[in-house]
């Protein structure tokens, strides 16, 4: 009797939790009929927002991969004093309120910011341009990738790296033939997370880039703008983002299964002290 009561209690709590988490998502799809949803996506505001979102997110992802991968590799393979502080700094945007990120970006790269006058001298204005959107997305989403990438590179058996070196491969060849393929699935998982986060970026973007239709107005910003103008259009865009995010997360689980890299031996050369 007591056992049955306990089971019922756990089941009930779980049902409430599940209901709470899924109800808003379900509501997005029930308010407007599916056919109408697809038609609303043809709205010029929506089309512009999709183009801006895709373009800025893709460019931001390229930047994240290009600069985040070497950063993660160094942080994963080098041991030096202050490393933990550095890793924490890199991870900070994960927990920073997006508004703080936006203010920070303005203070650094805005017209009157830290580097503003330097950029101005080169005729570069970043604030409230598409470049600002890219930078805001990269700043907020980048740490999702870098953090996962550090863990993936740390999971590569140091003996395999050492073996590569003793077999005549230099650091660059070792990176591309051993470290990168073995960390690959982890890197892809991190990249997918960063992509999803970047697509949903709102706070930092609106502060640093504004919300100009066709220029800086991404899907989340367009949802906010349409919230008062045409609620159903906002719902359609919301539904679109839900579908994309769900597909991303699900494929992540199915394709990568979050595997760490395989190990074939103990790490003995990792400790040199």
């Amino acid at each position: 009797m007591r056992k049955a009561g306990w089971a019922a209690l756990v089941f009930l709590a779980a049902a409430v939790g599940l209901g709470f988490l899924t109800l808003p998502v379900v509501a997005l799809f029930t308010r407007v009929p599916p056919g109408e949803l697809v038609r609303l996506l043809g709205n010029p505001v929506v089309r512009d927002a999709i183009v801006v979102s895709l373009k800025t997110t893709l460019i931001a992802q390229v930047l994240i991969l290009l600069f985040g991968t070497p950063l993660a590799y160094l942080l994963a393979t080098r041991r030096f004093p202050g490393r933990q502080v550095l890793v924490t700094l890199v991870e900070l945007p994960l927990v920073l309120p997006p508004a703080v990120a936006g203010i920070g970006l303005l203070a650094a790269l805005g017209r009157f910011g830290l580097l503003g006058s330097t950029l101005d001298a080169f005729g570069l204005r970043i604030g409230f341009t598409q470049t600002a959107v890219v930078l805001a997305v990269a700043f907020v989403a980048g740490p999702f990738y870098v953090r996962t990438a550090i863990a993936s590179f740390e999971g590569v058996d140091p003996n395999l790296v050492a073996a590569s070196r003793t077999l005549g491969a230099g650091p660059a060849r070792t990176f591309f033939r051993v470290a990168l393929p073995l960390a690959g699935s982890g890197l892809a998982a991190g990249e997918a997370l960063a992509f999803a986060r970047g697509l949903g970026e709102f706070g930092a973007t609106i502060m640093f880039a504004g919300s100009l239709q066709g220029v800086t107005q991404t899907l989340p910003l367009a949802i906010y703008a349409q919230f008062e103008a045409d609620f159903d259009v906002a719902v359609a865009m919301g539904a679109l983002l839900v579908v994309v995010s769900f597909a991303l997360l699900l494929s992540l689980k199915l394709v990568f299964g979050w595997q760490p890299s395989q190990r074939t031996s103990h790490s003995v050369f990792a400790r040199t002290s």
Partner: protein
């Protein structure tokens, strides 16, 4: 043959590793775990940088801390076989062997009898097969030195004997300065001509297996250098008592309760050997006679070298037997205390 010389010092967590070593032919460093054995290989291969010292292969200086020379691992001609082989799990056997981009891949696959595994990944191989792949991969880059880290430790007892015989044959034919580190003294004396005992980063003693067992410098070396190893050949099948007859290189016959065939190593612990002035009587008892070559005190016991054998006896019985160099004595040991290990 080339000579590898390594002379370096490196502060480790609880002791300083200090080593001066000339490797010509096959040398084994043997010691308990944590003695710094793997670190020695890391320093030679360029994976670990010592505080001071020099590593060179003949005239080719790989490391000279004082002169600021420190070649990176890829610029040192070393073939390093890792303890658990460190094969690349995402590459096939062929890709592993071909990793150093040397043209002799097919020849090596053939030589190590792994051609049929060329398309397999390391995960699906047995321990013995992995070792052959690791050796082929290490030799593929034409190393000037071969370094083996616990080459037999990752194998189960069943495969170990045959792999050890194979490895011995291989090393014999390679003509490369080879340094093996192992915690197993028996493996060391089976594979190497010269054995060094490394404890807490210090090389306690280095010499031929016969020297180490007959004249251990301290009690630790004595306790660690466990056993005599005599070479011989099994004569015919086991007799009705279950005893295997082995003819030693010197011509004497000894008996063992172990089953074996072909070339074998006869392993006897010094404390299982009794000494007498007259031949001991008894069935299933092996008997060898010879001149006492040396008597060395180790702790409260004496190590006495007679012919090919070292015996350990108490000081009292040594005195009673009047053992001194030049006198003839009889050594006896039971067939049950006589181990046979397969050699190639």
């Amino acid at each position: 043959m080339a000579t590898l010389s390594a002379d370096f010092a490196l502060g480790l967590r609880s002791y300083e590793l200090r080593l001066a070593l000339e490797v010509e032919g096959v040398v084994a460093l043997v010691g308990p775990s944590g003695a710094g054995k793997t670190t020695v290989l890391g320093v030679i291969a360029g994976l670990i940088r010592p505080d001071s010292g020099r590593v060179a292969l003949d005239g080719e200086v790989w490391l000279d801390v004082e002169r600021g020379v420190n070649r990176s691992p890829e610029e040192r001609r070393v073939g390093l076989v890792f303890q658990e082989y460190a094969l690349f799990p995402h590459l096939t056997v062929r890709q592993n062997v071909a990793y150093s981009r040397n043209g002799r891949v097919d020849e090596l696959l053939e030589r190590f009898r792994i051609s049929h595994l060329a398309k397999e990944r390391p995960g699906s191989l047995s321990g013995g097969e992995r070792q052959r792949v690791a050796l082929a991969r290490a030799l593929a880059r034409d190393p000037g030195v071969l370094l083996l880290d616990e080459p037999l430790a990752a194998l189960d007892a069943h495969t170990k004997a045959s792999v050890r015989a194979e490895l011995q044959q291989l090393l014999h034919g390679l003509d490369l300065p080879t340094l093996i580190v192992t915690h197993d003294y028996e493996d060391a004396i089976a594979l190497a001509e010269t054995v060094g005992v490394l404890v807490d980063g210090q090389l306690r003693q280095i010499g031929s297996p016969e020297e180490l067992i007959a004249r251990p410098r301290d009690p630790f070396v004595a306790s660690f250098t466990g056993a005599n190893l005599l070479h011989g050949r099994v004569e015919g099948p086991a007799d009705t008592d279950g005893l295997t007859t082995v003819r030693l290189e010197a011509g004497d016959l000894v008996y063992s309760t172990d089953a074996a065939e072909g070339e074998v190593g006869v392993v006897v612990h010094p404390w299982d050997v009794s000494l007498g002035q007259v031949p001991a009587e008894g069935s299933a008892l092996n008997l060898l006679s010879g001149e006492v070559a040396s008597v060395v005190q180790v702790g409260n016991r004496l190590r006495v070298r007679i012919g090919p054998l070292t015996a350990e006896v108490t000081a009292a019985s040594a005195e009673r037997l009047a053992l001194e160099p030049g006198r003839t004595a009889f050594a006896s040991f039971k067939a049950t205390a006589t181990r046979l290990v397969a050699l190639s």
